[in-house]
């Protein structure tokens, strides 16, 4: 258990001349739930996009499940298959039905037989309570339903880690709860999760650790209770006072 599944050491990233991430160190153990918060532009999204290499880092190292991510990583697809990701804009495939969205990757990436993939997809869709929408297309669903479908789609790859990039930021207030409920259920089932979110209620409920980022640096990293009760840095205090 003590061996971290994600280990980031001295990671730096630049967009051109602009340094987005500065000396980020982070290690996440299996089954831990980490919430990352911070003002916009602080590099939270970039950080988790680096973990499945949707963005490349320039310095330092990222080790995911024993494999270091670098330019030479030939099996980057294998790593990505183990790391599920949910996006702010859902990013469902609009030309495929909900069921096909969920079975596409298992069938073609994991070479799962079609029948098995469909059973798995239906199971995951049931988990997020949209099994009855399976034959509709993404455009016919509400935002909350789409986001839950996106979670189910990621889970169909049976990932070891789930990354959430502001999953509720593009949703109407009344739809946020249904997505958060799905995420809470997932957390209770023991998934390793890194969640970028502004939903502090969610953080308090499920997170083991909360990380506060600002200007590309991890300003504060603490256990959840500690983080909300006694924030250490002034920047964190200011942020919390504004958001709570």
């Amino acid at each position: 258990m003590s061996d971290p599944i994600i280990k980031i050491e001295g990671m730096n990233k630049w967009f051109g001349d602009f340094q987005v991430l500065k000396d980020v160190n982070l290690s996440v153990e299996k089954n831990k739930k980490i919430v990352v918060c911070g003002p916009s532009g602080s590099g939270k999204s970039t950080l988790i996009r680096c973990i499945n290499r949707l963005e490349e880092h320039q310095k330092g190292s990222i080790i995911v499940d024993g494999t270091e991510l670098s330019e030479n990583t030939k099996d980057i697809e294998k790593i990505r298959a183990e790391v599920g990701m949910v996006f702010q804009q859902f990013n469902l495939f609009p030309h495929l039905s909900i069921l096909d969205n969920c079975t596409l990757a298992p069938i073609w990436v994991k070479k799962m037989p079609k029948k098995e993939a469909e059973e798995l997809a239906m199971k995951q869709l049931k988990q997020v309570q949209i099994a009855d929408q399976a034959n509709k297309f993404p455009g016919q669903l509400s935002g909350g339903q789409q986001q839950r479908c996106a979670i189910a789609r990621a889970l169909c790859m049976e990932p070891k880690i789930m990354l959430f990039d502001e999953p509720t930021s593009a949703l109407d207030p009344e739809m946020i709860k249904e997505v958060l409920d799905a995420m809470v259920n997932l957390a209770k089932a023991g998934m390793t999760m890194i969640v970028v979110t502004h939903e502090m209620g969610f953080a308090k409920e499920v997170a083991d650790e909360v990380i506060f980022m600002d200007e590309g640096m991890i300003v504060e990293k603490a256990e959840t209770k500690e983080f909300f009760a006694n924030p250490k840095s002034d920047r964190t205090k200011l942020f919390l006072s504004q958001i709570l």
Binding site: M85, F93, L104, A105, W108, G139
Partner: protein
């Protein structure tokens, strides 16, 4: 004096009568050469229908009459004097132009007989088209062998409908069928059946092919080849690999920068110079390759437009699910991008079909080429007009059918975002 609710009926009666009078005047003068206003000075007589019509339309112009049809007319074509004027002028032009067109096409046209002398009327000489029809359709292909062209075209059309067989078992292979197997079958059919030289069929050299059938053959193969080539060029141009990227850019910009007529000319004159002596490639094949590569550059840019229109999130999502470059493109990116560019692709394909007459520069005579040949025949001088009208109608039918088909595809694959 404007119409209102109370005197509406009177105004409508008077207005409609005046409007009808205007139409009648133009109708009689254009169809029967009767001028009912001959008692007026000639200028007044000329603009009489316009004035009467405007007056009539003015009298029935009321914002809301409660009569559905009248309101519709007023809303669409009679909102103010200027619109009424435009409407009248357009109606008059149509009425005026029907009789001459009708008389040229039908009333004064000839179709009987089989020599130039049979054409005595002042209208079109369809006899010319009738006599030359075989040449326009089959070119110089020997008459007694033309059944081979017919059969192979019927087979090709029949095979194109395989996609409508509603069998789950075959559905998986449809794309493979249309992209790979169908072109191969088409090539074999055309090679062995039309070209001959095997199975006891007499060899007919491609120089003898021509007319509409050649238009179809050239368009068909160019469409089939330019699409995949264009697709790979589009992907290549967006590739991360610099070599591939710059080769694609260079290729696209080269072909887009050269006129098609030059390309065709080079393919037949320059190209053979670079080939070894004993190497022979048929003129038709060279032309098809040249046009395909030329149009592929255009298709590539159209498809690139579609690729760029997709949100970056689609790439992210596909990657995050562990898909590699090809899986991502085949299952996620291309299906959406191609759907977006159906109108653009249709546009390019229509242009391609209409570019095929240019192959006359290398001595291949498709339908327009055959027309040019026929019009210089000493026995049939002076019927260029009929020929070009005929070709225009044929091309219009082909292109309109393609355009309708592409529109149907668009509706079929429409998705909500």
């Amino acid at each position: 004096m404007n119409p209102d609710k109370n005197n509406l009926n009177n105004y409508i009666y008077v207005g409609t009568s005046l409007f009808a009078l205007a139409i009648l005047d133009v109708f009689l003068s254009s169809f029967f050469q009767i001028n009912i206003t001959s008692f007026l000075p000639s200028f007044l007589s000329f603009i009489f229908p316009l004035i009467v019509g405007l007056l009539g339309l003015h009298l029935i112009r009321i914002e809301f009459s409660g009569i559905k049809k009248l309101d519709l007319i007023n809303k669409n074509i009679n909102t103010n004097t200027f619109n009424a004027l435009l409407t009248l002028v357009i109606i008059f032009i149509i009425i005026k132009s029907i009789p001459p067109i009708m008389s040229w096409f039908i009333v004064d046209a000839n179709i009987s007989g089989d020599t130039k002398e049979a054409c005595t009327g002042s209208g079109a000489c369809w006899t010319y088209i009738k006599i030359w029809m075989r040449r326009f359709v089959y070119g110089m292909y020997p008459n007694e062998l033309q059944w081979r062209i017919n059969i192979s075209f019927i087979l090709l059309v029949a095979l194109a409908f395989v996609g409508y067989i509603p069998s789950e078992k075959f559905k998986k292979f449809l794309t493979l069928y249309y992209v790979v197997i169908y072109p191969i079958i088409a090539f074999i059919l055309i090679y062995y059946l039309i070209s001959g030289g095997a199975f006891g069929l007499e060899w007919v050299e491609t120089g003898a092919w021509g007319g509409l059938s050649l238009t179809f053959i050239v368009s068909f193969f160019c469409l089939i080849f330019c699409f995949p080539v264009g697709m790979f060029l589009a992907l290549g141009r967006r590739s991360q690999l610099p070599t591939l990227k710059y080769i694609s850019i260079g290729f696209i910009e080269f072909w887009r920068g050269v006129p098609l007529i030059t390309v065709l000319f080079m393919s037949s004159v320059m190209f053979p110079m670079f080939l070894p002596e004993d190497f022979f490639m048929d003129k038709l094949v060279r032309v098809i390759i040249a046009i395909s590569l030329f149009e592929a550059a255009y298709v590539a840019e159209v498809i690139r437009g579609g690729l760029q229109a997709l949100p970056k999130g689609q790439y992210d999502a596909a990657k995050s699910l562990g898909m590699g470059y090809w899986k991502m493109h085949i299952f996620v990116i291309l299906p959406q991008a191609l759907k977006l560019v159906i109108p653009g692709i249709a546009n390019t394909f229509l242009a391609l079909v209409k570019d095929t007459p240019l192959i006359f520069v290398v001595g291949l005579l498709e339908i327009v080429g055959m027309l040019n040949l026929a019009k210089t025949n000493p026995k049939w001088l002076g019927f260029a007009m009929e020929g070009y009208v005929f070709a225009a109608i044929i091309f219009w039918i082909i292109c309109y059918a393609m355009s309708k088909y592409s529109y149907n595809l668009e509706l079929k694959y429409k998705t909500e975002r």
